[in-house]
């Protein structure tokens, strides 16, 4: 049979979401809608101190004055913000020290997701802080970390146990007013992670959090705050997948990272939320604000593999404030069917001799639209700063789109900025060549896509890279008959 790009496209349409299921753990959910009372209730539910409640209320007031942005190259029915329940927590709210105490049904869910915790613990030496429907239900490896003085816990706990740290840093990188979704998140965030690495400490393990959305119709507003004190190092992993639902699920997370002098943070994400069915119905809206601030000689690397969500709006950014600070952004974004992704980064060079690298790989299939949007801004003071950007797009079929929007603002003449962009298609000849060597078309596509994404995959921690590679294959699976 002759295999054409039309066939490929047809097959891609039929791809089913692998992890399409959800558990029926009893949940307690607030009535839909958002007002000051709801914000207060969330804060009360979490037993928060006064300053936190006030902070949320201020965010809510700011949010009310803001409008949802529409400059991104994505088109969707705007969420009805009064139609969302802003809090949902598993009713059996367990404080757990070991896996034995975890709801067996929940454990089963994790197994089906292939993220069996005990296996993770045994094999991967990873401390896992699971965020299940906005409330953390298990925390592991706390002890090992504790010995090093590392704090890694749900942010709600950190607000109780380390209020001085949270108060000092929350909202300093992504201010309440930053943007519409960040303001919303600040008002209603239900949970997330807090991480503090003390001075000079190298975190001995990859820190990881698994996010899931489980309750139909509830938004998920994660808040992550990561502080790497002077000379410290941490590699942080974040990955997620969600059950199949027929209504749009809004996700507006905020991640703030503070990297102090000589410290280094690696932040890796694998994102695989329900992208909607092949008609483009359902699927997660993913509007994320991620930003890191780097002090002198500090370094941050964002690495992300984005395969899910119906609509993605996400620009992990680096503020290179200190001299000699370094920002890196490595991204793979796969869109299929009717998915839309507008993603990229912002590199804000403030300090002297700052350096940034951007490697973006977009893979589009089906009727999807994949946009890279990047800003490189070299400010007046940022003498001898450099940026290298490379944006590659791989197209499958004729109905998808790849777009690149690079913005460059150089206010210092010593800036050195390089930008490269390529667009390619998987060719019949490449497929035939692989076939001739005994590699079927599905495997060939996986091979070619992995090759295309390699520079980014190589940046992921080993065990994550394998998972990510599988995810790329799954995302494009069923692409041939």
């Amino acid at each position: 049979m002759k295999y054409t790009e039309d066939d490929l496209e047809k097959e891609l349409e039929n791809q089913e979401y692998k992890y399409g299921f959800y558990t029926d753990i009893e949940s307690e959910t607030f009535a839909k809608g958002l007002n000051e009372d709801v914000v207060r209730a969330i804060s009360k539910k979490k037993n928060e101190p006064e300053w936190m409640t006030e902070w949320r209320l201020e965010a809510f007031r700011v949010w009310k004055t803001m409008e949802e942005p529409d400059w991104a190259n994505v088109h969707y029915a705007k969420p009805k913000f009064q139609d969302i329940a802003y809090y949902s927590a598993p009713k059996k709210k367990p404080k757990l020290n070991s896996l034995d105490e975890v709801d067996p049904e929940l454990l089963d869910t994790f197994k089906r997701l292939g993220i069996s915790l005990d296996e993770q613990k045994r094999l991967a030496n990873v401390a896992v802080d699971i965020v299940m429907d906005s409330v953390s239900v298990a925390t592991t490896f706390k002890k090992t970390l504790g010995e090093k003085g590392i704090i890694f816990m749900p942010i709600s706990e950190a607000i109780q146990e380390h209020p001085e740290l949270v108060k000092k840093y929350l909202g300093t990188v992504v201010p309440i007013k930053d943007n519409f979704y960040a303001a919303l998140n600040s008002a209603v965030f239900s949970d997330g992670s807090f991480c503090y690495i003390p001075k000079g400490v190298k975190c001995p393990m990859e820190l990881s959090t698994y996010f899931r959305i489980n309750e139909g119709g509830t938004g998920q507003f994660e808040r992550t705050l990561l502080v790497a004190d002077k000379g410290s190092y941490v590699s942080y992993l974040e990955g997620c997948t969600a059950p199949e639902r027929d209504e749009n699920q809004l996700h507006a997370a905020v991640v703030e990272i503070i990297v102090m002098d000589d410290a280094e943070v690696k932040y890796s994400t694998v994102q695989n939320w329900y992208p909607g069915n092949k008609e483009g119905k359902g699927g997660v809206y993913n509007f994320v604000t991620k930003r890191a601030i780097c002090e002198t000689n500090a370094k941050v690397s964002w690495t992300q593999v984005e395969t899910g969500s119906a609509v993605t709006w996400k620009y992990p950014s680096c503020i290179l404030k200190g001299n000699y600070s370094v920002g890196e952004f490595y991204s793979i974004a796969v869109t299929n069917n009717h998915q839309q992704a507008d993603t990229g980064t912002k590199m804000i060079h403030l300090g002297k001799n700052t350096k940034s690298t951007i490697i973006s790989k977009g893979i589009s299939a089906g009727k999807s639209q994949n946009s890279y949007r990047g800003l490189v801004q070299i400010n007046k003071r940022a003498t001898n700063s450099r940026n290298f950007s490379q944006c590659d797009s791989l197209l499958m079929g004729n109905e998808c789109g790849a777009h690149t929007f690079p913005y460059i603002e150089a206010k210092n003449t010593s800036a050195h900025i390089e930008h490269e962009a390529t667009t390619s298609k998987i060719g019949e000849d490449q497929l035939f060549y692989c076939n001739q060597r005994g590699i079927d078309t599905e495997k060939a596509i996986a091979l070619i896509v992995n090759g295309f994404s390699k520079e980014v995959l190589n940046k992921l921690p080993m065990e994550f890279a394998v998972e990510a590679q599988k995810l790329l294959e799954i995302s494009l699976e069923g692409s041939v008959g």
């Binding site: 049979m1 060549y433 076939n435 001739q436 060597r437 005994g438 091979l447 090759g451 390699k454």
Partner: protein, 249 residues
């Protein structure tokens, strides 16, 4: 081993192969020569299973089995190998990773486990040595930035790794320098046995000086118009194709 009977093939209603008959037995080397555009590569591609050509008549059997309906990878699993006239580039996929995938996919099709990494490595080293390949090529992206000659040598390296029953070499000599030609040809000779067969497509006698053909065929305008022994190639080298065209006219 390979029987081609009255093979007609076309693309976009344009007939390119106009009735090819060819019998290749195990242990034999066949050379196919013929002017540009005669249909040599087309024939090679059709044997390998390229789907854009439509077979309108005739059939292709490999060891008694009709393979003309099989997918290209299935033919590869049965031992068909094509050294491409123009090998394609696959960015980011190393030669090692590619050949590893090819071997393991072929093993999988035969119900075998993946080849243990240790054995794979040993084999890669042996075959790279056989073709006097610089090992740093093995960790480069497949064919990307390879010179013409390097691409061809890499094709034969893959052939050495896959140990096919039927190897079709489409102008493997073009692009090779004099030393490389000798090395690659010797490599092919070492891989030859009484159980496999080789079809060599070439324009020049110089390759046939090394890889001695048992039969030489002239493909002209989609048909094999003349067959003979090794001396036919020498005669063509001397006289060109005009005398054949005249004979036909």
């Amino acid at each position: 081993m390979l029987h081609i009977q009255n093979l007609h093939a076309s693309i976009d209603d344009k007939e390119i192969l106009k009735g090819i008959d060819l019998n290749v037995k195990a242990g034999e080397v066949h050379a196919i020569m013929g002017p540009n555009g005669a249909g040599k590569s087309t024939m090679a591609n059709i044997i390998a299973g390229k789907e854009e050509y439509e077979i309108t008549q005739g059939n292709i059997t490999l060891e008694g089995e009709d393979i003309s309906e099989l997918a290209p990878e299935e033919r590869a699993h049965k031992g068909v190998f094509l050294s491409f006239q123009y090998p394609v580039e696959i960015p980011g996929v190393t030669v090692t990773n590619f050949i590893k995938t090819a071997i393991n996919e072929t093993r999988k099709a035969k119900g075998l486990e993946d080849m243990p990494a240790k054995d794979m490595l040993k084999m890669i080293r042996e075959k790279a040595a056989l073709l006097e390949m610089d090992r740093k090529f093995l960790s480069r992206s497949l064919n990307q930035g390879f010179s013409g000659g390097e691409k061809k040598r890499n094709e034969i390296f893959q052939m050495a790794m896959l140990e096919p029953k039927l190897a079709i070499l489409d102008e493997t000599d073009s692009g090779l320098d004099i030393d490389a030609l000798r090395i690659v040809a010797n490599g092919v000779n070492k891989l030859k046995s009484k159980n496999n067969a080789v079809i060599v497509i070439t324009h020049y006698q110089r390759l046939l000086d090394y890889i001695k053909p048992d039969f030489v065929h002239v493909l002209y305008d989609g048909k094999i118009v003349k067959s003979g022994d090794a001396s036919l190639a020498l005669e063509l080298e001397e006289k060109g194709y005009d005398w054949i065209k005249k004979e036909l006219a």
